[in-house]
């Protein structure tokens, strides 16, 4: 499939990039797939296949920028998988042009936040692992990948109201786990439904 397109020089550079980046990328993928390792391995492979397509751009970037690019690409490929109705793993699509064109901006560094207690995080992780696939997809897009509800609806091809319902349920379950030690517990946040 790639015969003749990738020169020996590029192939060597790509393999070196793989050696430098794949390990962390796999860890990131495991977070997105809720520790489905086989799927995470597939996602890593797909992300690096995309990297080969865009190597002319990527080879000029720093390691840190490549890392950001690979993560963003891998997340997009995963999202593309969420879009399909049937079993996620069998649907890993060939990468579409839409998902390849990613700006190589360095990741925005959020100001350091107070770390949540590891016990609370552990409880949340267990909740996340137990979510239905569709709920997981919606929640991941909202809070991990920072998408708006309307974007989520269009990416997944579902009704915006459905997105809201999923988010409402997952939000409630997660907040319950954080309950005692987080400041917003019991608050009626601004913007709440009247």
């Amino acid at each position: 499939m790639s015969e003749g397109r990738i020169s020996p020089r590029e192939a060597g550079e790509l393999a070196a990039c793989f050696r430098a980046q794949a390990r962390n990328l796999f860890g990131y993928a495991c977070g997105l797939t809720r520790e489905d390792r086989a799927l995470a391995e597939d996602l890593v492979q797909e992300a690096f296949e995309a990297a080969a397509e865009d190597w002319q751009v990527l080879r000029e970037l720093t390691e840190e920028q490549r890392r950001a690019w690979l993560r963003r690409t891998l997340a997009n490929i995963a999202v593309d998988g969420f879009r399909r109705e049937t079993a996620f793993r069998d649907r890993l699509p060939r990468i579409e042009v839409l998902y390849r064109k990613i700006q190589a901006d360095p990741p925005e560094q959020a100001p350091p936040e107070q770390a949540l207690s590891s016990i609370a995080l552990d409880r949340c992780w267990r909740i996340i692992q137990g979510l239905a696939q569709r709920q997981h997809a919606v929640a991941l897009l909202r809070w991990q990948l920072d998408m708006k509800e309307s974007e989520i609806a269009s990416v997944l091809g579902i009704d915006e109201k459905t997105v809201s319902v999923h988010l409402y349920r997952v939000r409630r379950r997660l907040l319950l786990q954080l309950g005692r030690d987080h400041p917003f517990d019991g608050d009626d946040p601004e913007g709440a439904a009247p």
Binding site: A139, Y168, R171
Partner: protein, 221 residues
């Protein structure tokens, strides 16, 4: 029904849950990264790069293997050579020669670990002959000031101070090599022994004598 705002803004709850997701993922990431089978993944990726996903594990030929090593280790090897021969241009030539030689002998190496050891050895040997050649040929030539790429690591900054570089120059060849390999190239005792083709005991004595001499030279200042 919903507790918080629509797309128009992020509620405190959403901000909190974003943090939860980020931090949960980071935890998983650090835990699971370590468990990744890099060799397996790399084998599969190379097979794809070779355009043959039906037959993974096809031969990773010399060109690709050498380019991969080049992309990964070239700079570090130039730094190593530059510490030995004291100018970047010669260092680059030394390293490039070593790569060419390795490419020619790839059929025998066929393995990245072995190849890296071979490269280091070749770089040290070639640096040595450059120095001997220089000592004979241009004794009278004014030396240009050392032209070193700066090291990224904090500990190295200390070792790359001009005074240290100057003091290093004053050491006997073997002691200088042992110290450069240990503290600049960050090799283990066994790797240094293999690279210099001497025993581990000899590595120990060269390194400790070299360090003692360095310390003495620096204290004199």
């Amino acid at each position: 029904m919903r507790a918080a705002g629509r797309d128009t803004g992020t509620s405190p709850e959403d901000a909190l849950l974003s943090r939860v997701y980020q931090q949960v993922t980071e935890l998983q990431e650090s835990r699971l990264s370590a468990e990744y089978d890099l060799d397996k993944g790399l084998k599969r990726y190379r097979a794809w790069l070779d355009g043959d996903s039906e037959h993974p594990g096809v031969e990773w030929n010399a060109d690709r293997a050498v380019t991969e090593l080049y992309a990964e280790h070239y700079r570090a090897l130039v730094r190593l050579a530059a510490m030995l021969v004291r100018d970047t241009q010669t260092a680059e030539e030394v390293v490039q020669d070593a790569f060419v030689a390795m490419h020619d002998g790839w059929q025998r190496l066929r393995d990245n670990e072995k190849a890296l050891a071979y490269l280091r050895q070749a770089v040290v040997n070639r640096s040595r002959s450059v120095l001997r050649h220089r000592a004979v040929v241009d004794k009278n030539l004014q030396k240009a000031p050392p032209d070193m790429p700066s090291a990224e690591h904090g500990a190295l900054v200390l070792l790359e101070r001009d005074a240290v570089v100057a003091a290093l120059r004053g050491l006997p060849e073997r002691q200088r090599e042992a110290i450069v390999l240990r503290y600049y190239a960050d090799l283990s005792e066994a790797e240094i022994a293999a690279t210099m083709d001497i025993s581990r005991g000899a590595v120990k004595s060269h390194t400790s004598r070299g360090m003692a001499a360095l310390r003495a030279a620096l204290e004199q200042e």
